[in-house]
């Protein structure tokens, strides 16, 4: 490869994995440039955690090849291990040790000794807001603190590639926001982040690129904006008090009616001008909708449209922004 092209942090070709007769990964291709946040998005059981386990050398793939910073996963797992850090879905801290001892343990395993180890540990305790709890056993930590300690332990070795497997699952909104900021800071410091999540908002806010994994294959890949462009645009949802109003509105405006909920779905953007126009037309026809809501395409729509019929039963989902 040309010298001035930076090596990708992760490059995966045709990765396959099955457990007995169940195929978990069915030919996954990925390439993640160094210094970016990549998010692997998918419903439960899509194969996200399996992907992380394979890429972090915990389990072997059945087929395909994967390289981390050019090191082949199968041929040189130790070189891969030296470059990565993993914070899994389940807490990987030693509950019997204090926060400080956990970090010192990691420092020891990274062959940091004496003052250097203490400096690194103190810095991380400070950075992750754990200095006050440094001398308490990790078993006594709250969920958010454990997660922060977990990530701090991952960072002791200053990994270039950090796997975060559903790092905010089970956290309260505040801790989630803290975690997001930490992840942004990591990338600002030059690391590459491989993030799996089932929260679309999380991928939307953090990731440079998103891949949607469903039943073992990547069904879509791109930036959040690119993915959103792939589903039909937004619409305005009108609700009426009775069927007559619904019928005449449908006649005037077109769109899709749902007689059961007396709703009319009018395709189009939620801009002020088009909205005013829509209301004007209803006014002229003397139809008063009970309720009006504007729906912009969200990653949720993409997700539901791409990951099969689970939940995608034609009902518009309310965008939360």
């Amino acid at each position: 490869m040309p010298r001035n092209t930076p090596r990708p942090a992760v490059s995966v070709e045709g990765l396959r994995k099955s457990y007995r007769d169940q195929t978990v990964l069915d030919g996954v291709d990925l390439e993640i440039p160094a210094g970016t946040i990549f998010s692997l998005l998918g419903p439960n059981g899509a194969g996200k955690t399996t992907m992380v386990k394979i890429l972090s050398t915990l389990i072997r793939a059945d087929g395909g090849r994967a390289r981390i910073f050019g090191h082949d996963l199968a041929a040189d797992p130790d070189a891969v291990r030296a470059a990565i850090g993993v914070t899994g879905q389940y807490s990987a801290v030693d509950g019997l040790l204090t926060g400080q001892e956990n970090l010192m343990l990691m420092a020891g395993l990274h062959r940091l000794r004496g003052a250097a180890a203490r400096r690194r540990t103190a810095g991380l305790l400070e950075r992750f807001d754990l200095a006050d709890a440094a001398k308490k056993p990790a078993a006594a930590y709250s969920g958010g603190m454990r997660r922060r300690l977990d990530l701090a332990m991952t960072l002791v070795g200053e990994p270039r590639l950090i796997f975060l497997d559903e790092p905010t699952t089970g956290l309260d909104p505040r801790s989630r926001r803290d975690m997001w900021q930490i992840i942004r800071d990591l990338v600002a410091d030059g690391a590459t982040v491989f993030l799996t999540t089932q929260y679309l908002e999380e991928a939307d806010r953090l990731a440079d690129r998103i891949a949607v994994l469903d039943r073992g294959t990547i069904v879509a890949e791109g930036t959040a904006a690119e993915l959103k462009r792939r589903v039909p645009g937004g619409h305005v949802l009108l609700r009426f008090a009775e069927a007559g109003a619904l019928a005449s509105a449908a006649e005037k405006l077109g769109g899709e009616t749902d007689p059961e909920s007396l709703a009319l779905k009018v395709p189009g953007g939620g801009g002020v001008a088009s909205l005013r126009d829509l209301l004007d037309r209803l006014d002229t026809a003397s139809i008063a909708p009970e309720e009006l809501s504007v729906h912009t395409p969200a990653l949720d729509d993409v997700f539901l449209a791409l990951t099969g019929n689970r939940g995608a039963n034609g009902h518009a989902r309310k965008a939360n922004r």
């Binding site: 915990l58 070189a79 990565i84 993993v86 990987a92 019997l96 001892e101 020891g108 395993l109 062959r111």
Partner: protein
């Protein structure tokens, strides 16, 4: 640094981790010491008067019986400590921390050597404690310094072998409960030997089993060293058993640890 010094350094870090666990939660150590002490007191004070061969009444019989069973109790102590190892290995495997270790560029076996060396130290401490209790209630070994050293060495060998076995048992267990039950037979095997009664008093079938089980030569050798003034004639069998159990268990444990974690 070479691979070997990395492995040694990583193992030392893991041993330090185990010792810290032990110091922070001494209740486990005390619990493991509790059972052999209980056995010791039970056998000496409840059965001792009737079992001992002393001619000077119940007290002399008790003292005599104490001398007879002390080696068996010490081996139960070692086995009981090994049971703790299986539990702590199984607990460790259930935690995410071991998954973390597996994704790090460290000597793989260091996780296991940390457990083994940590447990060995713990077992020796517990054995010292039980020995102290035995001495306190009247155990009077006749061993000289060389015999004492050999006895400690034998206990350490036995402990090392049983600890590796327990590490394998801890790894093969799907749950912590299983891990605490699997090594149970180890604690009771010394009873089915020459630890508490002379083997001649046993029925033929049982006697055959007793002759060929590892705790019999171990008990015999330990008794010979502590109160017999020599190593006896079964010390080679005892050492061979320890070496064999260690080797098989080490290979088994390593294979179990290296196999891919399920799912």
């Amino acid at each position: 640094m070479t691979a070997l010094s990395h492995a040694a350094g990583d193992s030392a870090t893991m041993v330090a981790r185990q010792l810290r666990h032990m110091l922070r939660y001494p209740s486990m150590t005390l619990l493991l010491a509790g059972m052999p002490v209980l056995f010791l007191l039970l056998f000496v004070y409840v059965f001792g008067g009737a079992m001992g061969a002393g001619a000077g009444g119940a007290a002399a019989a008790r003292a005599d019986y104490l001398d007879y069973i002390a080696p068996g109790v010490l081996l139960i102590t070692v086995a009981s400590a090994a049971q703790g190892t299986a539990i702590s290995v199984a607990m460790d495997m259930a935690e995410g921390i071991v998954a973390r270790f597996r994704t790090m560029d460290i000597a793989r076996v260091s996780v296991l050597t940390g457990h083994v060396v940590g447990s060995l130290i713990q077992a020796m401490l517990i054995t010292a404690l039980v020995t102290a209790v035995a001495l306190l209630i009247g155990f009077r070994p006749t061993a000289g310094p060389a015999e004492w050293l050999a006895a400690i060495g034998l206990l350490a060998l036995a402990s090392y072998a049983l600890t590796w076995l327990s590490v394998a048992l801890g790894l093969v267990s799907k749950s912590v409960e299983t891990a605490s039950n699997l090594p149970m037979p180890l604690v009771f095997l010394p009873f089915l030997g020459s630890g508490f009664v002379p083997t001649e008093t046993l029925p033929a079938g049982l006697r055959w089993f007793v002759e060929y089980q590892p705790f019999t030569p171990l008990t015999e050798t330990l008794r010979a060293l502590l109160t017999g003034g020599g190593a006896g004639d079964s010390w080679t069998a005892a050492v061979a058993w320890c070496a064999g159990i260690t080797l098989v268990s080490y290979v088994w444990a390593k294979r179990l640890y290296n196999r891919a974690p399920s799912a």
